[in-house]
Assembly symmetry: C2
Homo-oligomer: 238 residues x 2
């Protein structure tokens, strides 16, 4: 496979740096082709300017995305989202006509998005480190469940552009990493990297395939009846 790692951490000697290096080596040793967009090292400009059209550095990132079969987004969780430098990568690279604003609008379709788009068929996975504890991000944890905190990214960016989104790989409580925990995390990451092609994606509903009213884009009454919130946009497992 062709694998792109979009990576945002300011310190190459960090846990994130070590995990990124490990991922590259592990994937290459398994015969994959790997490219890395190391946003801090590239001094990526995060700010989308007024009337900006894609320049050479944006086109290069779009080509990497088109080349890739799978894209890994690796970042430390800062304020319950991706770092600004990566958010600005999304804003500039997922430009009009590439990441959004594609396809026709009719009674049956509302553009090519949410399951259809430029990146249809490609896989995506978030690789996240968090300082907090795992229970803080659990179903009743104070930060909110990690799946719901990541909904704007996994559903609103990646599924939106047509990608199949694998469950995120998370490492918690990063301030307490000793040798043993690091070795365990690396081994677990290795397993996830070995199964990128076979891991079942999150079954987000597709926009233009009958579940939603058009143009209101609310779920039809018969679909997940009387339910509300982010989780209704994931199909129940059958």
């Amino acid at each position: 496979m062709n694998i792109l790692i979009v990576y945002a951490h300011p310190d190459p000697r960090s846990l994130n740096g070590a995990l990124k290096d490990y991922a590259v080596e592990h994937l290459q040793a398994s015969g994959h082709a790997v490219q890395v967009s190391d946003l801090y090292a590239m001094q990526w400009r995060p700010t989308l300017e007024a009337g900006e059209t894609p320049g050479p550095e944006v086109l290069r990132e779009q080509e990497k995305l088109l080349w890739a079969d799978t894209v890994i987004f690796q970042f430390p969780l800062w304020w319950f989202s991706m770092p600004a430098i990566m958010k600005g990568w999304v804003e500039r690279v997922f430009s009009h006509g590439f990441g959004y604003g594609i396809g026709e609008h009719s009674d049956h379709r509302w553009g090519d998005r949410y399951g259809e788009g430029t990146l249809t068929g490609k896989r995506a996975m978030l690789l996240i480190t968090a300082g907090g504890w795992e229970p803080h991000y659990s179903a009743r944890g104070i930060n909110g469940p990690i799946e719901q905190l990541m909904f704007p990214i996994q559903h609103g960016v990646l599924h939106y552009a047509g990608m199949q989104v694998l469950p995120a790989f998370l490492i918690y409580r990063t301030s307490r990493m000793d040798e043993a925990r690091f070795a365990a995390a690396r081994a677990e990451l290795g397993l996830r990297l070995d199964t990128l092609h076979s891991t079942a994606p999150i079954p987000f509903r597709r926009q233009n395939h009958g579940d939603y009213e058009i143009p209101a884009l609310t779920l039809k009454d018969k679909v997940a009846p009387d339910q509300f919130g982010l989780e209704i946009h994931v199909k129940a497992q059958e």
Copy 2:
């Protein structure tokens, strides 16, 4: 009151620019003192660097926050979150010892956060424009309910730092603004600005006041029993 508007839009001649100018005039005419952090005009650097400590431009923003009674964050919704330039304002200004990493950890407290912190007692409101339609952001809308999409910001940034968070003010379908809709939006915004001091904040639960187990920081079994997800961190209205 002292009111700070943190504002991110690249084009001063935009709908956002017009609303920001209107908000400043309206608040000043009502006798409030207003400061604006116009992030694009300031050419704010969004990228948090390795080992960064607050420099003069960060300290200035922190002083504005300490001066303010109410802070309005105004931005266009880009990829279901704030623009990168504003995310980078949060990352750099809500620095360690100011926005997080405060207070003691014990059996009864887990730092000064989620209802307590540097910004305790101040009010915050998001002022957001969105290209999509209002039903797309409703309880069963495809984008997800706007309150849940904004949870990482309203709960994870603003409530986290101690602020009282007012319901967001939203303007939808911004590509179809004519004179009449603009006038209506401006009038509605004027009403919200006139009631900043009296609008009831979202009743997010406070971390150190008995609802959460410490240190797991999961809701106690007796609180919102058998419920899950982001919404359980908002107290039911009595």
